[in-house]
Amino acid sequence: MHELSVATQIADLVTRVMEDNSAQKVGEVAVEVGTLSCIDPDSLTFCFEAITKGTRLENARLKIEEIKPRAKCRACNAEYEVSWDDFRCKSCGSSEFDILIGSDISVREVEVE
């Protein structure tokens, strides 16, 4: 839903990395998108291309890896992949769990020159 906002922040991060490294060019931008964030990768790519066109980020290519959500049960310590229709522990059914990964969006790596 808010892919444009996310794309804008990614562009800002990439610009910062370029400046910090005195780089003129940017290549691949590795992004991790947790599926619980409800960000659609195709839409994110579309937005990123639209806002970077004609800028020095024009050649940046988003490489998006979708991160499936995983949780850890507080009752039996089992780690499991969460599904949207039921977040409870897959091993013991407990309602007490912590989401480990899959909620956030992060920029993992940026190629610059």
Binding site: M1, V6, Q9, K25, C38, W84, S95, E109, V110
Partner: protein, 229 residues
């Protein structure tokens, strides 16, 4: 090309603004609720019933969001509570900036701010306003599987209010099914069944809300002191 290892979380502009809102509400000890639901589940009715009961004991401010009209703000204001409408024009949700623009003028003199979001079970889930809790309403008869159809909103909400229990005799809907469907996705939710029409169940909701208001205030005794003096 050089690979720069970044591993940095992307925080959107909205998230940053929401954090600023939350900090401000924290400093003033103001409890902020963000009411979300499909159109027609009874958000405005719940606000009306809530302010009728609490307005004499608490300073309340209501922000209502819709694409057009000021109908909801008018409905609420007739109970003697300050209410302001945000007409989004076409946007399907409120964001932290819209709320900040309305609230920055009113200062800190409120115990409770209720934000009634645009009726939409999708987009408001992604836009934190800086609230303490999202309160999700689902009405009897709108489909007991609503929570499993819109799980991101259930995950984002801390409270589920099942409204219109007075309609139970006329539908096949079962509030317990709605509740169990929601708890599968978010087991930590507080759940209330109410009828804004008959008043049934509102006492439990008000009792819970009052307790949350006290907890929020207690965390800020200096605010309480300055206001009681």
């Amino acid at each position: 090309m050089k690979k720069v290892d970044l591993r940095e979380k992307v925080l959107t502009t909205n998230e940053k603004l929401a954090m600023a809102n939350r900090k401000r509400f924290g400093e003033t000890g103001t409890l902020v609720l963000n009411l979300v639901s499909s159109p027609g589940s009874g958000k405005t009715s719940l606000v009306e019933e809530t302010v009728k009961i609490l307005k004499d004991g608490y300073r309340i401010y209501v922000v209502t969001g819709d694409l057009m009209t000021e109908n909801d703000a008018r409905r609420i204001a007739r109970h003697g509570v300050e209410a302001v409408q945000i007409s989004t024009g076409g946007a399907c949700h409120l964001d932290a900036k819209m709320v900040d623009k309305k609230l920055v003028k009113i200062g800190s003199d409120y115990d409770l701010i209720i934000v009634e979001n645009v009726g939409n079970l999708v987009c408001p889930a992604s836009f934190d306003l800086g609230e303490d809790l999202k309160v999700l309403l689902v009405a009897v008869g709108e489909g007991d599987d609503k929570p499993v159809k819109y799980p991101p909103m259930v995950r984002a909400s801390g409270v589920l209010v099942i409204n219109k229990t007075d309609l139970m005799p006329y539908t096949d809907s079962n509030p317990e099914t709605i509740k169990q469907n929601a708890l599968k996705i978010n087991p930590e939710m507080e759940v209330f069944s109410v009828s804004c029409k008959t008043g049934e169940g509102l006492d439990r909701w008000i009792e819970w809300l009052t307790s949350r208001l006290k907890t929020k205030k207690k965390a800020h005794p200096e605010v309480l002191d300055s206001k009681s003096g």
